[in-house]
């Protein structure tokens, strides 16, 4: 049998290869030139013209297979039909492939039929597989003995308990327990105990009301009203909290009489409008009021065993009344927590997410014990298990991001000495006396790591760890490590400039000299005394550096050449002393950046800047590219920014005026007209309102001065004095600052961009200085002034380093949830938007896209293969287990054993599927059964073929670069990459932000979808932000760790688009076939 399998595998390859010489070549050519759709047409026509040609049919079926085209099942069936009984080996191979494809599609019956053909052709199937596939999918209510009844409609209960309607029955009570733990109780005002929150009070009242309604519904569980006048009507509306105004008849209207009850009625979604209409028309009303049976872990008796009257105790009541029980139900392992306040559990939680060299390093027994003792300390309380959210954030960040060299030793930037100095001389302030003493005798990297572990247990901010992680990221991708002196300087100045280090992480080729010069310049600019000038100078400098960062990221400034333009910018601004020099520095900065991108001198700088920001498109993508440029131009216009051309022309003209030329009044007026378009909504505010604008003085002044600018008057005033006339161009500096800042704003504009479209002062209001005494100049960009009546609209504050995130954060609440009761997931959504806006796909070819998509398909196949091959299952689960919690792995194992491959696939994230495929391909071993399953598949063959044919594009590093996402917290960088980490939980101090950064599935999924629909990667630039907006609007999560809700939304939006696009695709295919 083993030989039969190998033979069929070879036949499959040879069969395809033989035919390739005749027909595949043109199809392959089309595919390689980015025209897979036409390749499909060519192959389809060949298959149609040669209905008995196994080669033609196979080529077509396998092509479809590699694009996950739904027509592949039919194509394989035709291929199977074309094979005669004498070709049993090939028949077996095709039948098995068809079964696999059917299983991936979720058609278990068809898969079973395929397997039977496979067996008839000589193949072997495990009995348990056949049995599993033959069994119907278990669904509906679980065993009664392990369930409880929740009164009334389940959706009503979910609404009142703030549970997503997308949850499965088995997920309901754990989710409820979580909500009870996080939102059910608060510290009592007068005692040391806990008291229920408004959420829990309402939920309890709702359950009580639902029980009254259930009683009224009676044994058949239907609430019935025969007529308006019936006695039940009064009873029902009394329970609901309403009364009939005007009595029965045409004027019958329901009116609130008991606000508490009425609120429960409406908030729980009781069909009040329907009841009202029935009463109005004097018609019968009926409403099914069946309880939902919900499974309870270990059964309800287990949990109510402590109650005095077990018979009477209702599990739901007990759970709602006892916060400790809710915690326990939420899977807190009491003994593990009580032993050391949860430090070991917390330590395990961090280590369980590791793989490869870091795992080996941290789990070396002696080291594991040493670091555990360091993090636990002598006094274990307060432990990490006490708060609602996990407080081991820093432990997780340290273990996840510590770089371990090939020699198994941690990489310490600059060596141990600078870090020793940090602890011993503590330039930033004393951290820990004991650690300071110990630092004097540090000899090895483990000593530093131990100290960092020890600091992880402190509830205060762990500054040394933050410094260490930030500088490690700067050093991570560098070919030449930073010098110890540079590291020392970066350590010492982290408190002020640390946020700016993300810029250094993004460009690993920067020299030590440029980094030091940048620190010098930033320090120099911070000392400018005049607030207005300081704000403009720092704003313009940051704006140019931000554009430099964009050009570097987009490959318009080559990595090897990134150093020189940044050094030039740094030098230009170090020398600025007045507004005229500032304007000149800004102008030279623009020239420097354009020159670094290879732009020719004669081009319009404004147009060129917008073109570069839009990206570098291939000729075939020009239409998509034009849309991108046009969108940027439109946003620029809406902010009423002044173009570089207008500013530079005017500056040149002022230079001529200083040489005696007459002022071109029309030119000056053009600028004046543009500036006059800047509306100040606050002009209509009353004095009381104006008094509430105590902050934002400098931004107000910045805008006001522009509005007052009268260039003509300034020139007339300086008439006859060439030097003074030259100075007049300094008046343009604040305007140039806004234009340059505006480039970054429009580049990172989130989908919808409602703020940019509505508030024309948004860019101009950026506050580079900060509020009152709190200097924010070099800090992370943040939102300020949200919520009226604080000011004339929210604005951004701080540096431009986190602009992309801050814009997404500001814009998120303009997205409209499509699920009733859902709200936008505040801490997660900005990062999801960021992942859609920062990566661009102009430089990505169809090869990368297809290669990635093949991986996700292979991942699906491997899962389906594991359902068919029990022997292979453990190995597959072992790879998956590196990314999953044991509970999810167990769930997937159960589904695979039951032959439910599609359900297992749905449960896996795209990033897990990708890593499963990579793990499979990278593994040195091959499970016997599985190897047979995949070697026949065109998917793995195509992955390997592309890797050989296109090594620079079809490789994991390139996929990471092309389809990764930025990780400002985890990697201190905005450069897109795949970190391939398991999905993080919500962490204390970071909320869902780290979770969102570890969520890398979206772009992988979108690229695969585009490949499936034969869309060129360039279209992702327009589609991904749109798709992402829809995903965000459809997320219906129950709690802050409910990332499966993101996965559900992602798949739902993808399926919806796929369905619509495929209809259009079919028309295109038909049209192409006719031509």
């Amino acid at each position: 049998m083993r030989y039969l399998k190998q033979l069929s595998c070879l036949l499959a390859v040879w069969g395809g290869a033989a035919y390739a010489q005749e027909t595949l070549t043109p199809a392959q050519k089309l595919e390689r030139t980015g025209e897979p759709l036409r390749a499909r047409v060519v192959l389809a026509r060949a298959a149609e013209l040669n209905p008995r040609s196994v080669g033609a049919l196979r080529a077509y079926a396998e092509f479809l297979d590699s694009y996950n085209d739904p027509a592949r099942r039919e194509a394989y069936q035709k291929l199977l039909d074309a094979l005669g009984p004498e070709e049993s080996a090939e028949r077996a191979e095709v039948a098995r492939r068809l079964a696999l494809v059917d299983l991936v599609a979720g058609d278990r019956e068809a898969a079973l039929r395929g397997l039977q053909i496979y067996r008839d052709a000589g193949g072997r199937i495990e009995e348990e597989v056949e049995r599993a596939l033959g069994r119907p999918v278990a669904g509906g209510s679980p065993a009664t003995s392990e369930t409880i009844e929740i009164p009334g409609a389940l959706r009503s209960f979910e609404r009142m308990a703030a549970l997503s309607g997308d949850l499965g029955l088995s997920e309901l009570l754990p989710a409820l327990a979580r909500n009870l733990v996080t939102s059910g109780y608060q510290a009592a005002r007068n005692t040391e105990g806990l008291e229920p929150t408004e959420y829990l009070k309402l939920l309890s009242r709702y359950i009580s009301q639902a029980r009254e309604l259930a009683q009224m519904a009676g044994p058949d569980q239907v609430i019935r009203i025969s007529t308006c006048e019936s006695s039940e009507t009064g009873q029902l509306i009394k329970i609901l909290g309403y009364r009939l105004r005007n009595g029965c008849g045409d004027d019958a209207v329901l009116e609130t009489v008991n606000a508490s009850r009425a609120f429960l009625t409406t908030d729980s979604g009781f069909p009040l409008a329907e009841l009202e209409e029935a009463l109005h028309k004097n018609q019968p009303f009926q409403y099914e009021f069946r309880p939902a049976k919900v499974p309870v872990l270990f059964g309800p008796a287990y949990w109510v065993s402590g109650e005095k009257n077990k018979q009477a105790a209702d599990f739901l009541d007990v759970l709602l009344a006892d916060p400790a029980l809710a915690r326990l139900y939420l899977a807190f392992i009491e003994k593990l927590v009580s032993k050391d306040d949860g430090w070991l559990a917390s330590y395990f939680d961090a280590l369980a997410r590791l793989d490869g060299r870091p795992l080996e390093y941290f789990t070396e027994p002696a080291r594991m014990r040493r670091f555990y003792l360091a993090v636990r300390g002598r006094v274990t309380s307060p432990g990490p298990a006490r708060p609602v959210f996990r407080s081991n954030a820093e432990l997780m960040l340290l273990t996840s991001r510590l770089q371990i060299g090939t020699d198994g030793v941690p990489r310490i930037p600059g060596g141990l000495e600078p870090w020793k100095q940090l602890f011993v001389n503590h330039p930033q302030g004393k951290y820990d006396g004991k650690l300071t003493r110990a630092a004097n005798s540090w000899k090895a990297p483990d000593d530093l790591v131990e100290a960092l572990f020890a600091l992880c247990r402190k509830p205060v901010e762990n500054e040394p760890l933050k410094i260490f992680l930030a500088i490690s990221e700067v050093d991570r991708n560098r070919k030449i490590p930073l010098r110890p002196a540079t590291i020392t300087r970066l350590i010492n100045e982290h408190r002020v400039y640390g946020t700016q280090y993300a810029l250094l992480s993004d460009a690993p080729s920067l020299s030590d000299e440029t980094i030091l010069a940048m620190l010098d310049t930033m320090a120099g600019l911070s000392k400018i005394k005049d607030h207005g000038q300081r704000s403009d100078t720092i704003g313009m400098f940051q704006a140019l550096v931000s554009v430099w960062q964009i050009f570097c990221r987009q490959g318009q400034i080559l990595e090897s050449q990134a150093d020189r333009p940044l050094k030039s910018l740094t030098d230009l601004f170090a020398a600025v002393k007045n507004d005229r020099e500032l304007f000149d520095a800004g102008r030279s900065g623009v020239r420097t950046l354009l020159s670094a991108t290879g732009s020719s001198e004669g081009v319009s700088r404004q147009d060129r800047m917008l073109e570069l920001l839009a990206g570098n498109a291939a000729p075939a993508d020009q239409e998509t590219y034009r849309q991108a440029v046009s969108e940027l131009a439109s946003l620029f216009e809406l902010q009423r920014l002044v173009s570089l051309k207008t500013l530079f022309d005017l500056a040149d003209h002022l230079e001529s005026v200083s040489r005696g030329e007459k002022l071109n009044v029309a030119m000056a007026n053009r600028l004046a007209a543009r500036i006059s378009e800047i509306r100040l909504p606050r002009t209509t505010l009353t004095s009381v309102e104006k008094n509430s604008f105590s902050f934002g003085y400098w931004t107000e002044k910045h805008v006001e001065e522009q509005r007052k600018l009268n260039l003509r008057q300034a020139v007339e005033k300086a008439a006859g004095n060439p030097e003074k006339l030259k100075e007049t161009r300094g008046l343009l500096a604040p305007i140039l600052r806004d234009t340059l800042v505006g480039f970054s704003y429009i580049y990172y504009a989130p989908p919808g961009a409602q703020i940019i479209r509505t508030n024309p002062l948004f860019v101009r209001s950026h506050d580079f200085l900060g509020v009152l005494a709190a200097v924010r100049t070099w800090r992370e960009t943040e939102l300020f002034g949200t919520g009226w009546p604080s000011n004339g609209g929210g604005r951004l504050l701080g540096s431009l380093t986190g602009l992309a995130y801050a814009l997404a954060e500001a814009e998120q609440n303009f997205l409209v949830p499509t699920q009733r009761q859902a709200l936008i997931w505040g801490d997660l959504v900005p990062q999801i938007i960021l992942s859609a806006k920062v990566p661009r796909w102009w430089q990505v070819s169809a090869v990368e896209q297809h290669w990635l998509a093949l991986h996700l398909r292979l991942g699906e196949e491997l899962l389906a293969g594991a359902a068919l091959e029990p022997k292979a299952r453990e190995r597959i689960l072992e790879i998956l287990g590196r990314q999953m919690t044991p509970a999810r792995r167990f769930r997937i194992a159960t589904l695979l054993a039951a032959g439910q491959a599609r359900a297992a696939i749905e449960l896996s994230t795209p990033s897990e599927l990708y890593l499963l495929a990579r793990g499979h391909l990278d593994a040195a071993w091959r499970p016997e059964g599985l190897a047979q399953a995949v070697c026949r598949g065109p998917v793995e063959r195509e992955i390997r073929r592309l890797a050989q044919a296109e090594p620079s594009r079809a490789n994991p590093a390139r996929i990471s670069e092309a389809f990764g996402s930025p990780h400002p917290t985890l990697a201190n960088s905005y450069r897109p990459e795949l970190l391939n980490l398991p999905t993080f939980p919500t962490l204390m101090g970071y909320s869902s932000r780290v979770l969102a950064e570890s969520w890398e599935s979206n772009n992988l999924y979108w690229a695969t979808l585009a490949d499936e629909l034969y869309l060129p990667p360039a279209q992702l630039n327009l589609l991904v932000p749109q798709w992402t907006q829809k995903v965000v609007e459809r997320i219906f999560a129950t709690h802050l760790e409910d990332w499966p809700a993101v996965l559900r939304s992602l798949r739902w939006i993808g399926d919806d688009y796929r369905q619509k696009a495929r209809r259009q695709l079919l028309d295109e295919v038909k049209a192409a076939a006719l031509n």
């Binding site: 609404r159 909290g241 209207v253 329901l254 009116e255 609130t256 606000a259 009425a262 609120f263 409406t266 908030d267 979604g269 069909p271 009040l272 409008a273 329907e274 009202e276 209409e277 216009e637 006059s676 378009e677 509306r679 909504p681 606050r682 209509t684 505010l685 009353t686 009381v688 309102e689 509430s692 409602q754 703020i755 509505t758 508030n759 024309p760 939102l783 949200t786 919520g787 009226w788 009546p789 000011n791 004339g792 609209g793 929210g794 500001a810 814009e811 609440n813 303009f814 997205l815 409209v816 949830p817 009733r820 009761q821 709200l823 936008i824």
Partner: protein
């Protein structure tokens, strides 16, 4: 002109007859003219000194000035009736109900131009928690009493907007949307108002937004006056029913008064359910009596803010008071 009509009608159907660009291509070799035209639609309420609505006025009773430039009224309507073409100061006979495009290509008898598109923006933030159900009752009463020709959209908001019921003439649907409202958290009134205005702007015909709120906003990114500017530019009156006491939150009160007055709407401060019901009645009455006056602006070099003045002619000018939006910014 007929050639232009069809295209304009199509644009009108999607873009509220604003910013239309059309080509005039008569037969023969005549050149193609391209003209940018914004049809400015005004909702004008006329009241007597006693505050009673004045009905039965004709186009010739109105004089419209934009930046002081006299305008020619193109369409005119009263209450929920479809606007009709105006010829020489008189409503053109036969245009209404004919189903044919009017002189400028706007299909006057189109269903979209009959009645008002009423967008109700209901504050479900936790501020409103206590009075939630009473507010629902008041809104439900308002819905039941609206003209059958009016379409209704129920939007709710707290931190985010929720489109509970998209515009519909089906009262049952609207009531269902209202009764299914769910209490939320923070109040981002001006964010939600902007999104509502953007949706309303997509609707052809007359539209108003009625905000039911108690303020104060604590989560919006936008300033009230930026949002008000959008309403002005789109010609959408904003009405506000505030359940908070004006004395306790004077800043919100001032803003409500300002944004409603400038857009041609009105602010009501109604703490009790009874007062809320009265406020809704007043709005309903106004919607039934408001005049729709539209014009294509005369050449005007001003690309910024254009002020609008509507006056009554003859004796009416002395007797009655007029309320409409203060102006607009032409689309770029």
């Amino acid at each position: 002109m007929l050639l232009a009509g069809g295209l304009l009608a199509a644009l009108a159907a999607t873009g509220a007859v604003a910013g239309a660009l059309w080509a005039q291509q008569p037969s023969g070799q005549a050149p193609v003219f391209r003209v940018k035209v914004d049809l400015v639609v005004l909702s004008v309420s006329v009241t007597s000194r006693q505050g009673r609505y004045v009905t039965g006025l004709k186009p010739g009773d109105f004089r419209v000035l934009e930046d002081g430039i006299a305008q020619k009224i193109a369409f005119f309507g009263e209450g929920s009736q479809a606007p009709v073409t105006v010829e020489e100061g008189r409503a053109a006979a036969g245009a209404e109900g004919s189903g044919s495009p009017g002189a400028a290509g706007v299909n006057l008898a189109s269903d979209s131009f009959v009645g008002t598109n009423v967008f109700i923006l209901f504050d479900t933030s936790n501020f409103m928690y206590r009075g939630f159900v009473y507010a629902e009752d008041a809104i439900a009463d308002f819905l039941r009493g609206l003209d059958r020709a009016d379409s209704i959209a129920i939007y709710t908001f707290s931190r985010n907007l929720s489109r509970a019921t998209p515009p519909t003439r089906d009262r049952m649907l609207a009531l269902r949307g209202l009764r299914q409202s769910v209490a939320g958290d923070d109040t981002a009134l001006y964010n939600a108002l902007l999104l509502t205005l953007r949706d309303a702007a997509q609707m052809p015909g007359r539209k108003v937004v009625i905000v039911f709120s108690n303020g104060p906003d604590n989560a919006s990114m936008l300033a009230p006056d930026d949002v008000r500017a959008v309403a002005e530019d789109e010609g959408i009156p904003i009405y506000v029913i505030s359940t908070s006491e004006v004395n306790k939150d004077p800043i919100s009160g001032n803003v409500f008064r300002r944004i409603t007055a400038r857009t041609g709407g009105r602010a009501y401060f109604a703490k009790t359910w009874q007062r809320q019901t009265e406020a809704f009645q007043a709005i309903r009455e106004e919607l039934g009596h408001v005049y729709t006056v539209s014009y294509y602006p005369q050449p005007n070099p001003n690309e910024g803010w254009r002020s609008i003045t509507v006056e009554l002619t003859g004796d009416a000018a002395k007797k009655y008071r007029i309320r409409t939006r203060a102006g607009y910014r032409p689309k770029l």
